[in-house]
Amino acid sequence: MALYTLGAGHVAAGIKSREFSAEEYVCQLLERIEKVEPKVNAFVTVSKEALERARAIDKMIRDGEQTGPLAGVAVSIKDNICTKGIRTTCASKMLELYVPPYDATVVKRLQDAGAIVIGKANLDEFAMGSTTEFSRHGTTRNPWDISRVPGGSSGGSAASVAALECTISLGSDTGGSVRCPASFCSAVGLKPTYGLISRYGLVSYANSLEQIGPVGRTVSDVVSALNAIAGTDENDHTTAGGKPAYSLQERKGLRVGLVKEFIEGADLAVAKVINKAVDTLAGQGCRCEEASLASVQYALPSYYTIATAEASSNLARYDNVRYGFDLSPEGYEWNSYFAKARSNFGEEVKRRIIVGSYVLSSGYYGKYYLKAQQVRSLLKRELKALFKKYDVLIGPTMPILPFKIGEKVDNPLKMYLVDIDTVVANLAGMPAMSVPAGFADGLPVGLQIMADEFQEQTMLVAAHLFEQAAKMQRSPEL
């Protein structure tokens, strides 16, 4: 049996009932990784301890000890989330030798639930990008067509899940970085409400926007991961109180708003699949109608102002003195050492730091940053009004199909424009997820579902309902 194709629930149940061992399952995954990695390049690091940990879980089960709901389930972790003893590079030269002395809260919680970290997933350097092309470890390729991008910045997360190299992955989503690759790779990816999941141990890029989020092949797998990691954390004071538990319940008569600005801005091939998705939901008893989010046109400039401003501030900490890459301080003066070391940031990171420095410059603050923060209030107010009328809002996750590697890499603005549908949820701090909606020209299209703050349960109900009716879950041939 191909154990690497199973979902999280089956894996944990199979291991607990000793139908198969965690060791067998992890061995199969490691073989799979060896086979497909030359094509996909989803991993920065494959964990050397995964097999050992699988054996430990098998032993616990043999000894009759209690194991968690994710017992034995292999997860990949985006390489900007700290893993104790496993190098965490952010796909950057600046952190090529960084081995964190601690686990991020999400990693600790997954491991407490029994999960096994199988490796660190590739990303755009410091999570800045929409294609995973800005990685020091080479581009991750889309498992559905390896000449195309997998989306980004959590491209390694989504590609590793889609290519059956792990069961679940954790990514981070600052402006769509979980949902975009989930959409491009035909996976389920969720960005939670701001404050639902701890960011402790996530390397900061734009902290007022970003959240860690799970990626899986099914809504059920995403729920399992979410239940393990969500909830308050004293190490991240922006987390909300409590520990929610989500389930795959059913609800009749969901009120669904199709955001017309999202569908109007999408390529015809994408719009066609999304319109079919609306029919599918209507066929399941949802009340679907068109809704308008007029201020969406201001979302992207607002997002790129805030993201670059926060990036320029957050990345100021990388001075290469206490950790970093090997560059002797001998012979350098204070400032010239930092300028030399920091010239090793990649192209896109440098570009964003400079744009961020520009918008925060004296005299420009009111013109850019303040306005961008006001747009967030405007968007939030508009969305709040819509969520009085609708349980969920839907549209395409990405306005275009996965494109060829290299197509947009030299035109940063063109690249930024593909985030148009995803940044809204980050600016408003609201939850959103991407669910496989179908294929156009053999390439995946994702349906984005958004809900009001902390209404993840409603969003998951809609996602599960759609998933069950559309039956779009399949795997690429590799």
Binding site: P101, S208, I354, S357, L413
Partner: protein, 89 residues
């Protein structure tokens, strides 16, 4: 209009050494990006307050240091138990 000198100055403020080729490329790209961000200046937003964090400082946990086990530093440049940095002057 974003000039090459401005980009060079911003690079210096951010302590990033930029080569001439980078300066040339970044100047035109950043000009295009800033022009796009200028769209923000066209919206009447006077009635909207900027979004703010909900938590107050009083809600924060107490600021007590908690060390990591073992050697948490990632540099080999050390002397007498200290990390060696570049000289100040």
């Amino acid at each position: 209009m974003v000039t090459k000198e401005e980009v060079k100055h911003l690079g210096w403020l951010a302590r990033i050494e930029l080569s001439d080729t980078e300066l040339k490329r970044y100047t035109s790209q950043i000009e295009e990006i800033i022009k796009y961000l200028d769209k923000l200046d066209t919206i009447p937003l006077e009635q909207f307050k900027p979004i703010v964090a909900k938590k107050k400082f009083a809600d924060l946990r107490s600021d007590e240091p908690a060390g990591f086990e073992g050697d948490a530093l990632g540099t080999k440049y050390r002397k007498d138990g200290f990390v060696k940095g570049p000289r100040m002057v």
